[in-house]
């Protein structure tokens, strides 16, 4: 009883302190009422053709910051995600996903399967639109990849892992597609340097638009459509990398533990 009282009192105190600091205390700064100076800098330059040295040619400030102003941060985040997936693949290196458990592969009921069949195309369409519109509206490569990664997860849960094997979505394919995404990102990062070396001008790594002393620029428009230079490429390749990164994780995690232990040897197979 005393323990519950202390818990309740400390939780209430935490709520009150955090609420006071974040609202009346002004700890979060001008919430909803005013734009901060740093935000003003980004908002005034993110889509302004009259400031060619500073603009990212994208109306979506967040994507512009993520892939242009602070591009290297995102590049290293992608590298961290890449290494995490590689870790999972390394742990499961000796396990074959092709082995079938007796009595497995049924999945959930017909109703759930039908509803899933209707929802999956919508999910894919939304994910692709989040990626392709990432430089215009809220969204981007990682957001789209996360939305798309739900598809293999639902397929595994509803139709079982063996359904994915039947339609030839294997760990190898997912690894290959993820690698294409990562190679695409690396290619887009180094493309300004390659073009600069060929044409004999200066450029920077991950350069999107013209910078001082570096006249290289990705095309901001494709026909009449605003594509914001390298941002649409990064979003598309990140979509591939994140989707199939998570897919590998689910393909590996969904292998039955008894099969994993059987194949790995180790402590599980001793008894």
């Amino acid at each position: 009883m005393k323990r519950e009282l202390i818990t309740a009192l400390s939780l209430t105190a935490t709520v009150l302190v955090v609420a006071y600091i974040s609202t009346l205390g002004g700890g979060l700064g001008p919430l909803f009422s005013d734009t901060r100076p740093l935000a003003k800098v980004f908002l005034s330059t993110t889509l302004d053709p009259n400031k060619p040295m500073f603009t990212a040619m994208s109306p979506e400030g967040v994507t512009a910051i993520v892939w242009d102003y602070r591009g290297l941060d995102t590049l290293f985040e992608t590298a961290v995600f890449y290494l995490a997936i590689i870790g999972a693949v390394a742990v499961y290196r000796d396990v074959s996903e092709k082995v079938v458990l007796k009595g497995g592969g049924v999945g959930l009921s017909k109703i759930v399967k039908l509803v899933t069949k209707l929802l999956i195309p919508m999910n894919i369409a939304i994910a692709i639109s989040i990626a392709l519109h990432g430089h215009l509206t809220p969204g981007g490569g990682f957001q789209a990849g996360a939305a798309m990664a739900v598809v293999p997860m639902i397929l595994i849960v509803v139709f079982s892992r063996y359904f994915l094997l039947e339609v030839k979505i294997s760990k190898g394919l997912a690894l290959a597609l993820r690698s294409i995404g990562l190679i695409g990102i690396a290619f887009t990062v180094f493309l300004p340097i390659i073009i600069a070396l060929i044409s004999g001008v200066n450029s920077y790594i991950m350069q999107n638009q013209v910078k001082f002393g570096a006249p290289f620029s990705f095309p901001a428009f494709f026909g009449d459509s605003l594509i914001s230079g390298s941002l649409i490429l990064y979003n598309l390749f990140e979509l591939l990398a994140v989707t199939f990164g998570f897919s590998i994780l689910f393909l590996l995690l969904s292998i039955e533990e008894s099969l994993v232990k059987e194949q790995m040897g180790g402590e599980g197979s001793e008894h």
Binding site: L11, L31, A146
Partner: protein
């Protein structure tokens, strides 16, 4: 403006309760469900704080992918936390 603050406060209070329940719950599957409920409340709060980019990534990760990954892991271990 006041409505936004009120909804924000409600969402965070909801999140706090869900977090507390997720921590004290001994049945791990229920704990994951509480954690997902907390994430839904956080999603609402992030939307009210005008961060739609974060909402788009937070929703699939914390309501879809993270509970699924944890459920796969729970299936590989034990459903109830041992004292």
């Amino acid at each position: 403006m006041e409505v936004t603050y009120l909804l924000l406060a409600l969402a965070m209070l909801f999140a706090l309760i869900a977090t507390y329940l997720a921590i004290v719950e001994k049945h791990l599957v229920k704990a994951v469900v509480f954690s997902a409920i907390q994430s839904i409340a956080f999603t609402l709060a992030l939307y009210l704080l005008r961060a739609p980019d974060i909402v788009l990534v937070y929703l699939p990760i914390t309501v879809g992918i993270y509970p699924a990954a944890i459920l796969f892991l729970i299936k590989k271990t034990e459903e109830v936390e041992q004292p």
